[in-house]
């Protein structure tokens, strides 16, 4: 077994099998088994590999919203970084810390204390108002993001279903 740590060379060495799933930078497990119960009207769609799950829900007039569950290693950026990333996805300019503070609510997800943020964007044409509700919670070195984003009417109508979905989340370990 090699213990040297030359940072300028490619190293090849034998290592014991990991007793548990590989770890992130703080040594936390990379997989955290998770279960939930989604509402029947949500249609599962193939998740992107960064996503643990994706759903879509349709409303009237071809309106729709998409729900995703994304685990990311570590702290996954500051709350303000994430807040501004989501605002950018809705076409909004970056927000101030005070604005973030006003938008955040505390929420319990799978026995862990998490945060819930709601952002709405109303473009000047008033035809494509969109909304996003994101919950995030940290567990075992992984930050889990639960996000519903789409047309304002659908997201607003599905808010209670989304909250029930968050309430159903359980971590298996």
């Amino acid at each position: 077994m090699l213990t040297a740590c030359d940072q300028q060379q490619v190293r090849t060495y034998r290592a014991p099998k990991d007793p548990m799933p590989p770890a992130d930078e703080s040594g936390a497990p990379r997989r955290a088994p998770i279960v939930w119960k989604e509402p029947p009207e949500w249609q599962p769609i193939p998740p992107g590999p960064m996503r643990a799950a994706s759903f879509v829900v349709n409303g009237p007039d071809n309106q729709r919203a998409e729900i995703s569950v994304v685990p990311l290693a570590g702290q996954a950026g500051s709350d303000l970084d994430n807040f501004n990333r989501w605002r950018a996805q809705l076409g909004l300019p970056p927000g101030e810390p005070a604005e973030l503070e006003r938008s955040v609510q505390q929420i319990e997800i799978g026995g862990q204390q998490g945060k819930l943020i709601e952002i709405a964007a109303a473009p000047s044409d008033q035809k494509s108002k969109s909304r996003m509700i994101v919950a995030m919670v940290q567990r075992n070195g992984i930050t889990w993001f639960f996000k519903m984003m789409g047309d304002d009417a659908v997201v607003t109508a599905q808010k209670q279903a989304f909250m029930d979905f968050l309430g159903s989340v359980q971590y298996a370990d």
Binding site: T3, V10, R11, A15, P16, A23, Q75, Q112, N140
Partner: protein, 381 residues
């Protein structure tokens, strides 16, 4: 003539004063800079550097603006050596002077050696699970782990410094070559590829994942999250591109020529020839507060090479010293009471400050007592 003037300058008291003033400025400036750029970056730019650099306004060009810690320390060391040589007659009569200067020199050399040789990492222990490695908190490596064999893995690890050079790598253990197409020292995930993503790959777990490069993270409690875009090259040519990122929580499986591999960008691992297994973790806080009172890890050392299997206790301020490394009790996981986190420090120069301090104390004691004796004799006369 010119040489003798340089030698005289190098041993002059004026240079000592200049060095001390520069050191004071660096300490003050570096301490203030920690507010803006964090402890790690300030250490790198102000203390572990030959020159302090600053960005030219409006560009990304960095220019030296002031001597750094290494330069000032190096000149101070030279100054001491030359001063001793120039004043050797006085110094010969006073062993205390020699000892004090030798102690100071050793202190400077020891600190430089620590910076060059010391390795710090973190070991996370979960109760009942043997742990064979610690992990670097800053550097990453591209790990290609062959999991085909039942009893052990074969790891090929490409360090961050080489990934940044974007070269091509091959080893006899791998049936393919690895070509680094792009490396981002820090990145953020972009969920929507239209939103400014830099990388999109066509294989592996990150098939639809995309990332954007961002500036370095200087905050003390956060780290850079690197991402690499790599291409695997087989005998028939390109096998496709993959994205490996510290953001991705899963390793990516590869099946090539009936052999199985896992691909990931992960913190650099330092494997040990022994394992530590956490038997029990005790974490006490002061009543009614979150202030830690005591951490204790009862750890079993399992060393197959030495046939060693024994229990040790690691407590706050009572580290384990084993195999040239020191294991400090450094933290816990707020969400998992079964987890203890140890700081692992390998520092071959750890003993130099103790020897330096002893030499300086001896030297000063000798100087003081010899002056005292002279003074007492004079007083009697």
């Amino acid at each position: 003539m010119q040489t003798s003037r340089i030698v005289q300058l190098l041993g002059s008291l004026r240079l000592t004063v200049v060095c001390l003033v520069c050191a004071a400025i660096i300490v003050f400036w570096g301490t203030m800079a920690q507010v803006e750029i964090g402890v790690y970056a300030a250490q790198q730019n102000f203390f572990r550097s030959w020159f302090i650099t600053a960005t030219l306004p409006g560009t990304e060009v960095r220019l030296p603006v002031f001597p750094g810690g290494y330069l000032v320390g190096g000149i101070t060391a030279l100054n001491m050596v030359f001063a001793l040589i120039q004043r050797r007659r006085t110094a010969t009569q006073s062993p205390g002077l020699w000892l004090t200067h030798a102690g100071l020199l050793l202190l400077l050399i020891g600190q430089f050696s620590t910076d060059m040789l010391a390795v710090e990492s973190v070991m996370r222990l979960v109760e009942g699970q043997p742990q064979w490695y610690s992990e670097d908190q800053r550097k990453v490596e591209l790990a290609i782990v062959e999991t085909t064999l039942p009893d052990h893995n074969v790891v090929t690890a490409i360090p961050q410094a080489l990934l940044a050079r974007k070269s091509e790598f091959g080893t006899p253990e791998l049936p393919f070559k690895v070509k680094v197409r792009r490396f981002m020292a820090n990145s953020v995930p972009v969920e929507n590829a239209d939103a400014g993503a830099d990388l999109i790959t066509n294989h592996g777990a990150a098939r639809q994942a995309s990332f954007r490069e961002t500036p370095h993270q200087y905050s003390g409690d956060r780290r850079d999250m690197p991402t690499a875009e790599i291409e695997l090259l087989g005998p028939q040519g390109s096998m496709g591109t993959w994205v490996a990122s510290l953001w991705l929580t899963k390793t990516q499986p590869l099946n090539i020529s009936n052999r199985t591999f896992e691909l990931s960008l992960r913190p650099v691992r330092y494997y040990k020839p022994f394992a530590l297994e956490l038997a029990r973790f005790k974490h006490e806080k002061y009543p009614g507060s979150a202030i830690p009172r005591n951490f204790e890890s009862d750890v079993r050392i399992i060393n197959p090479e030495k046939g060693e299997n024994r229990n040790v206790r690691i407590r706050m301020n009572n580290p384990l010293r084993y195999y040239g490394e020191t294991y400090y009790q450094s933290g816990y996981d707020e969400r998992d009471p079964r987890v203890s986190i140890l700081q692992v420090v390998r520092n071959p120069a750890w003993v130099t400050p103790y020897i330096s301090c002893a030499l300086i104390c001896l030297g000063l004691a000798h100087r003081f007592t010899s002056h005292l004796i002279t003074f007492t004799k004079g007083f009697r006369k």
